[in-house]
């Protein structure tokens, strides 16, 4: 048993739902108690889907448990077949149904339906949402994909996008365009948008594009083994990764890696002098393994940030993330415990977090700006406008998204200069976030208390801040104050200094100067 406050991933059957909901003509019959239907709202509300997910739940109740829940399952399966007339059905159990051991796969098989019935074994007490999606897509491919002749033109399949994915909708469009510019057509996009009959045609493509390893790696491997289809391993998020991806595709397709980069703006935006202030910004990265890997490269090589920590919540990618952390010279954080992530961020005091919606909340609490780079998703992660993460437009979107939470370059200088100005005080926050500007703090009799930096962790037990140093610290603009506090305390601790004076503060500043 493990106490969990917030979770990064749902149970594995939610992963199966993401696959089924992304597809067309497929139905999922899920043996589950009433209440598990909550999962529908993830799709209809967060993603604003205009259809119910294609899922029939048996919604058994306590009174059914003494009787015949297997019969209930078969009725639900028959009703779903009659009503929705799917091309194929996937069947499985949620966590509770797994305990009553009705074997939905076996039951469905005995019903003699004239369509493919694909049983899913998703161990709810061991695995999670991404595994569920990966395994479900793999089983669908394994059951439905047939050997077929390759298309005359060079084509590929785009694999991995699902319902409720982080920007999957727009990544499909961006990659389709990019590949088209290279002279490569898309055979099938799956699971999102594909029907079972299209899955049958996967083998006609010359190679596969593995868009999101989290949700399609098992299928990519199987297709390579069975149909000899190679697959791409670079996820084209960021400028460098997109260029590598283009080279990889050109190799697989036997064509020239030539492409018009006219639309790409990130490199110039990053090189232009206004971006100088981004230099060495200390960032912490957390999310799914794939997006963190991509974001680390962008952060360091394309934005000029300093990566001070990184991690992922999906253990399937622990090895990759450990290797990545080693390359970046930081400690990897592999956990799905939200409190542990919060503690790590609090200790590292980064200037920005690149994380999930969870880290956005952590950032809000600690007063650290945050940009979202990965699922788990929120209604905000499905913007009306076109905003991919992949390809050249994806890189442009990422530049804007990551810069937005920060105080703008010139404004940062002005804040340093006029930090005691009564109107232009630094507590006001970035000027382009008007709605969030708090009232100026009222000087009060208990100023020392009310001005205390609530977001800062308490000083280590054996170090105290002298009053004038504490006051000096407050003159430092808010967006670097946390770092200054932490650096000074580390500096003092390392030197066995018990009391932090103004001199200690500036000695530490000089020590950490870059």
């Amino acid at each position: 048993m493990k106490l969990t406050v917030w979770t990064y991933e749902g149970p594995p059957h939610v992963g199966a739902m993401r696959v089924a909901t992304g597809m067309r003509g497929l139905h999922y019959v899920l043996h589950a108690p009433q209440g598990d239907t909550y999962a529908d709202l993830l799709f209809t509300m967060i993603e604003r889907r205009n259809h119910r997910p294609p899922v029939t739940y048996t919604t058994f109740q306590a009174r059914d448990l003494g009787a015949d829940t297997a019969h209930l399952f078969k009725d639900a399966c028959r009703d779903a077949y009659d009503r929705f007339q799917p091309e194929a059905i996937i069947v499985g159990a949620s966590c509770t149904a797994e305990l009553i051991q009705d074997d939905p796969g076996g039951l469905a098989e005995t019903m003699g339906l004239d369509i493919p019935v694909i049983p899913l074994e998703l161990p709810s007490y061991q695995r999670k949402e991404n595994f569920g999606a990966d395994e479900t897509f793999f089983q669908i491919v394994r059951h439905l994909a047939k050997p077929c002749e390759k298309t005359p033109r060079i084509t590929c399949n785009l694999l991995g996008p699902t319902a409720l994915g982080f920007r999957h909708r727009d990544d499909i469009e961006e990659l389709t365009g990019l590949l088209s510019d290279m002279g490569v057509d898309v055979n099938v996009v799956a699971p999102m948008t594909a029907s079972p009959s299209e899955i049958a045609r996967l083998g006609a493509a010359h190679f596969n594009v593995m868009m999101y390893p989290e949700t399609c790696e098992a299928a990519c491997r199987w297709l390579k083994r069975e149909f000899g289809q190679p697959y791409t391993t670079t996820v084209p998020i960021g400028v460098g990764a997109t260029r590598d991806f283009i080279t990889e595709v050109a190799d697989l397709a036997g064509i020239e890696p030539k492409i018009d980069e006219n639309r790409l703006r990130l490199p110039w935006y990053s090189a232009s002098v206004d971006s100088t202030y981004l230099t060495g910004k200390r960032v912490f990265l957390f999310g799914d393994g794939t997006h963190v890997k991509a974001a680390a490269r962008i952060a360091r090589d394309e934005m000029g940030f300093e990566v001070v920590g990184l991690g992922c919540y999906n253990r399937e990618f622990a090895r990759d993330i450990r290797a990545l952390a080693k390359e970046y010279g930081v400690e990897p954080l592999i956990t799905d415990d939200y409190l542990e992530v919060e503690q790590t961020i609090e200790a590292l005091q980064p200037e920005m977090i690149l994380g999930t919606q969870m880290e956005r909340h952590i950032g809000k609490r600690l007063g650290i700006p945050c940009a979202v780079i990965s699922a788990p998703v929120h209604v905000q992660d499905f913007p009306a406008r076109y905003s991919p993460q992949m390809g050249f437009e994806g890189a442009n979107v990422i530049f804007d998204t990551w810069v937005h939470p920060l105080v703008m370059g010139l404004e940062e200088h002005l804040l340093h200069m006029f930090r005691e100005d009564f109107e232009f005080h630094d507590e006001a926050g970035p000027s382009h976030h008007g709605g969030h500007t708090p009232e100026p703090l009222q000087p009060a009799a208990d100023e020392e208390v009310s001005m205390a930096d609530e977001t800062a962790p308490p000083a280590p037990d054996n170090v105290i801040w002298l009053a004038d140093a504490e006051k000096e610290l407050k003159k430092i603009p808010f967006f670097v104050r946390g770092k200054a506090r932490r650096n000074t305390e580390t500096f003092a601790l390392e030197r066995g200094v018990q009391e932090i004076s103004i001199d200690t503060l500036y000695e530490a500043k000089a020590h950490y100067a870059r």
Binding site: L3, T58, T96, R365
Partner: protein, 424 residues
């Protein structure tokens, strides 16, 4: 409007009920934790369940709570199920860790879930044991919010029921209000009752563990919500008497509810009118504004929060709507009988077969459909106008001063549809 409702004219208490069995598109009782943990400020709700339970709570809460919330899930793992770990020892360890980290917690609810019920983890035994371990600082109670036993708001019923046996005993004649309402609404109710000379007024659940009410043979109970049947029974067993009345939604409902309590305390009609006249007039005025958009419109309720019957009564009688179908997860005539007496509708349905009900809804093309979040956008995409039901339990809607807001929740989607000039 000043006289009691005309109940001879076509209530639906005795009308046949369409009972259905099939897929139910409803939340489980765990969902109640979302509002219960805000109400009871020193309580923690520990669900003993699966990743699905944790995911449900998070999805229903919309990840809107910044701080560490006062609820969590002890997620069972493979080793707990295989008998490799003793579930009770594991639970004791997690509870000890939690209470050490959160010394502000005075009440701990162990909440049963579908998996914990199926593998029969005895949470009442665990609660007794943990109460002894952590007494006197923390009191540990247990109830089930599992989907196999409870539907959505029944979770609050199960929670409050679990508190009844430990309430102190009193011989005093007191009014006990039962149901977790936002403080602002609760204060309004108490203000009105005190102005009528009714009291002392106690509330279950109280905001803090040390303020819990007492119960005894002279206790009169007024329910605030139509889903507290088990709590009402438990209070009856402690000698309390339940005051039957329509629920306090809208001007009429609030007046009848107050009148039923006032009768128990012998409040004169003159005094009653003097106290209620001004808020009643305000409520009528506020409802009338929203009702402009609702008058003559048809409404269809999918089963969700159990509020359907009292709300349909309010919308048909005070806002001029026509109820095509009023669906409720279950119908307890001992609770909603008084509302049913005043409700005219073409169809009352209990339970659900969601696909068949969707067929009926599409055929009827109601002007407004009240349904859960899983159905709302799909129905909107089919051209229907919807009101998602969970807002009705998250928003202050009881009593006179909220009557206009309540009507507004239903008129807003209709007004919005009229405003938008671009087809979707």
């Amino acid at each position: 409007m000043n006289k009691p409702a005309n109940i001879a004219n076509g209530g639906c208490r005795e009308a046949p009920i369409l009972k259905e069995r099939g897929q139910r598109e409803v939340f489980c009782g765990l969902t109640g934790i979302i509002w219960l943990h805000r109400k009871m400020q020193d309580a923690f709700f520990l669900v003993v369940g699966s990743r699905t339970c944790a995911h449900l709570l998070q999805s229903a809460a919309g990840v809107m709570i910044f701080a560490e919330p006062r609820f969590g899930t002890a997620i069972m793992e493979e080793k707990d199920l295989a008998g490799l770990a003793d579930a009770h020892e594991e639970l004791d360890r997690e509870v000890a860790k939690l209470l050490a980290r959160r010394p502000d917690i005075k009440q701990l609810f162990l909440v049963g879930s579908c998996p914990s019920e199926v593998i029969k983890i005895d949470l009442s035994r665990a609660a007794e044991r943990l109460t002894q371990v952590h007494a006197p600082h923390v009191r540990v109670l247990n109830y089930s919010g599992s989907g196999i036993e409870t539907t959505f708001t029944q979770g609050e019923d199960a929670c409050l029921e679990s508190m009844v046996p430990i309430l102190p005993t009193t011989e005093a004649k007191e009014l006990l209000l039962v149901g977790a309402l936002p403080d602002v609404v609760e204060d309004q109710a108490i203000g009105l009752l005190e102005a009528l000379g009714i009291g002392p007024v106690r509330v279950l659940p109280a905001g803090r563990a040390d303020a819990m009410p007492a119960v005894g043979p002279e206790t009169k109970v007024a329910l605030l919500q139509p889903f507290l049947g088990e709590t009402a029974s438990a209070l009856t067993r402690r000698g309390a008497e339940i005051i039957e009345a329509p629920f306090p939604f809208g001007e009429e409902g609030t007046t009848l509810w107050l009148r039923a309590i006032a009768d128990e305390w012998g409040v004169t009609p003159e005094h009653f009118d003097a106290v209620t006249a001004a808020p009643r007039a305000r409520a009528r005025k506020a409802v009338a504004q929203a009702a402009e958009h609702l008058n003559g419109k048809s409404i269809f309720f999918f089963p969700d929060s159990q509020l359907e019957i009292p709300l349909a009564r309010f919308l048909t009688r005070e806002c001029g709507m026509e109820a095509i179908e009023v669906g409720a997860p279950y119908i307890h005539k001992g609770l909603v009988g008084a509302d049913m007496d005043m409700l005219q509708t073409d169809c009352v349905s209990e339970g659900q077969d969601v696909d068949k009900q969707l067929d009926r809804c599409r055929a009827a093309r109601p002007d407004l459909t009240v349904c859960g979040l899983g159905l709302a956008n799909p129905l909107e995409a089919e051209g229907l106008t919807t009101k998602w039901a969970i807002e009705l339990v998250f928003t202050p809607v009881h009593f006179y001063e909220q009557a206009g807001d309540l009507a507004g929740l239903f008129s807003r989607p209709i007004r919005r549809k009229e405003l938008l000039k671009v087809a979707s």
